[in-house]
C-alpha cells in the first residue's frame, strides 16, 4: 500500500484535532500518516499540508521566526494545502480587518477574505451545510464557525486555476458585509461561500476538525492529495 504523509502546521491552534482525524481515515489503497510540522525539515517530508485554525497573526509570526514563511510559499506552489479558518486567511491573496500594520500571508488561492467577519465570539455559530461533493451527501455537515473569516471575492488572475465552490451557507445566514448591491439569494454572493477548491488547494472557513464527522478530511485526501500523488507516480 502506498503511503501518504500529510503534515499539519503545528505552530499554534487546533492541530492535534486535524492529526487525530486524519489518522483515523481509511482511504482504499493508501496508508495515511499525519505528522506535526514546526520547521522546514519536517515540512520537506510531507506530500500535503493542513494549516489549522488558531490565530492567524500568531501563526504567521511563528512561521517567520521558525524560518517557515518561504518554505511554505514554495510548498503551496507544488503540493496540496488545506487551510481551515486561520489557515484559510493565510492562503488568501488579500485580507481585510487585519491588525495595525497588516499581517503576513502565504497566498496561493485567488481570493480576498475578511478576518473575523461575523463579529465577536457571541456571534460564533453552528450551521447545517448541504455539501454535494462529500461522501453520503444526503447527510448534512455540521459546520462550526468560530470568529470565522468571510470571503469577499473570488477573483482569478489570468492563468490561475479555476475555482470550484464546494459549500455555501443558506441565504438566511449572512454577515452584513457588503451593501445591498448583492442580493442574499444570489448564488454568486461570495459571503455565502464557506468551502472552495482551486488547483491543488482546498479552503474551509469553518472547522471540520471540531466534529467527529471526517468527511471533509476524506474529501481533501481523496480529491486533492491522491490524484496529485497518482499523477507523480
Amino acid at each position: 500500500m502506498a503511503k501518504i504523509t500529510i503534515g499539519i502546521l503545528a505552530l499554534q491552534g487546533a492541530f492535534a484535532e486535524h492529526q487525530s482525524t486524519l489518522q483515523r481515515l481509511s482511504i482504499p489503497g493508501w496508508k495515511v500518516s499525519a505528522v506535526q510540522v514546526r520547521n522546514p525539515e519536517e515540512l520537506a517530508s510531507c506530500d500535503a499540508l493542513v494549516i489549522p485554525g488558531g490565530e492567524s497573526t500568531t501563526i504567521a509570526l511563528l512561521a517567520r521566526l521558525s524560518g517557515l514563511l518561504e518554505p511554505l510559499r514554495e510548498f503551496l506552489k507544488r503540493k496540496p494545502v488545506w487551510g481551515t479558518c486561520a489557515g484559510a486567511i493565510l492562503v488568501s491573496q488579500k485580507v481585510e480587518n487585519t491588525k495595525k500594520g497588516g499581517q503576513e500571508l502565504l497566498g496561493g488561492m485567488s481570493i480576498s477574505i475578511a478576518r473575523n467577519g461575523w463579529g465577536s465570539q457571541a456571534e460564533s455559530f453552528e450551521a447545517q451545510l448541504e455539501v454535494p461533493g462529500l461522501k453520503n451527501p444526503e447527510r448534512s455537515f455540521s459546520g462550526v464557525f468560530i470568529r470565522a473569516p468571510v470571503l469577499l471575492s473570488l477573483t482569478r488572475s489570468p492563468g490561475d486555476p479555476p475555482i470550484s465552490i464546494i459549500a455555501r451557507l443558506p441565504p438566511s445566514i449572512l454577515p452584513q458585509l457588503i451593501p445591498d448591491s448583492v442580493k442574499s439569494d444570489d448564488e454568486e454572493d461570495p459571503r455565502r461561500v464557506v468551502a472552495i477548491r482551486q488547483g491543488l488547494h482546498f479552503l474551509t472557513t469553518f472547522h471540520p476538525e471540531l466534529t467527529s464527522d471526517d468527511r471533509f478530511h476524506e474529501y481533501f485526501v481523496r480529491e486533492c492529495v491522491v490524484p496529485q500523488l497518482a499523477a507523480r507516480a
Binding site: A10, L11, Q12, G13, A14, F15, A16, E17, S20, R38, G53, G54, E55, T57, T58, L61, L62, L65, S66, C85, A86, E96, N97, T98, K99, K100, A114, R115, N116, G117, W118, G119, S120, Q121, A122, E123, S124, F125, E126, A127, Q128, V144, F145, I146, R147, V150, P170, P171, S172, I173, L174, P175, Q176, L177, S184, H207, L210, T211, S212
Partner: protein, 333 residues
Amino acid sequence: MSTTVEPAATAAAAAAPAANGTVTPNAPAAPKRTQGGSDNSSLGTFGVKSGLAQMLKGGVIMDVINAEQARIAEEAGACAVMALERVPADIRREGGVARMSDPSMIKEIVDAVTIPVMAKVRIGHFVEAQILQQIGIDYIDESEVLTPADEEYHINKHSFKVPFVCGARNLGEALRRISEGAAFIRTKGEAGTGNVVEAVRHERAMNSAIRRASVMNEEELYAYAKEIQAPFHLVKETARLKRLPVVNFAAGGIATPADAALMMQLGCDGVFVGSGIFHSGDPAKRARAIVQAVTHHNNPKLLAEVSENIGAAMVGITISDNMAGGKFAGRGT
C-alpha cells in the same frame, strides 16, 4: 481531543442574535439572521464555546491593562489578551477589593487588537458577566484573582452565550466548573507571585487524578466521583478520554520561557501569563520568547536560544499564608 461534553442547555440563549458588534473600527457589522432568525444555525452552543478554546491551544494569553500593552502583546504573538485594570501582582501589593474593569477600558482594548479579548469577573458575580457579554467580550474568566462576590455559588455559565474559563486546583474542581458551564479550564497556580510552584502542583494533581480514573471500572468511578465531588458523567468521560473534556491551560506564576515550556511538557494545552510579562525588564522581548517557548516546548535547543538576553524577569515572591494579598487559590472551590 474531542470535546464531547453533552450539549449545554443553551437553546434559550441561542435564539436571539446579540446586538453588539464591538470589533475593530473598520470591521463589518454583526450578522443578521433574516426571515425569522436562526432557522438552521445556532449561536452560543457548547461546541462554539469550547471550540474557541481549542483555537487558542498552543498559544499564550497575556494580561494587559491598556491598549498600548495589548498591541505589544499582539505583535509578540499572543493568541488572546486578558483585559484588566491591575495585574495580579499589583492587586496583591495594593490590596482593596478587586473588581471587573471599567467597560470603557475593555472596549479600548477590543478596538486596539484583532485577537480575542478576555476579561475577568468576580466569582459568582453574574451581573459583571452580563455586562461583559453585552459589550462583546470574547471570553470571560470567572477568576479567583478578583475578590469573590459569592462564597457559595459560582455563576451558572450555561445561561450565557459568551464562553467562560475557570481556575481549578484539581480534577474535582475542574469538573465542577465544567458542570456549571465552563468551556475552558486553567490551573489556578498562585497569581501575581512569579512563582510557578502552585501551577505545577495543580497540573500534577490533575494529571495524577486522571491517570487513576482512567484505569477504574464503573463501580470504582461511582465511588471516585463521590470522593472528588464531581458529576459522575464527567468523571466517566474524563476517564475515557484520559484528559479533561475541555482545553486546559496553565496559569498563576509563570514568568519565564522555561516556566511556560515546563507547563506544556506537563501536559497543558497553552499558557496564561499575567504579571510575568509587563512586570519584567523587557516585556516585548519576554512575551515573544514565551510565545516561541510554548510552540517549541519539546525543543531544548530552541528553548535555550529564546531564553537568552530577554531582560530581567519579574522579581517574584515566596508563597506563604502571610504574603501580601494571601493565597488566592483557595477562593471558590
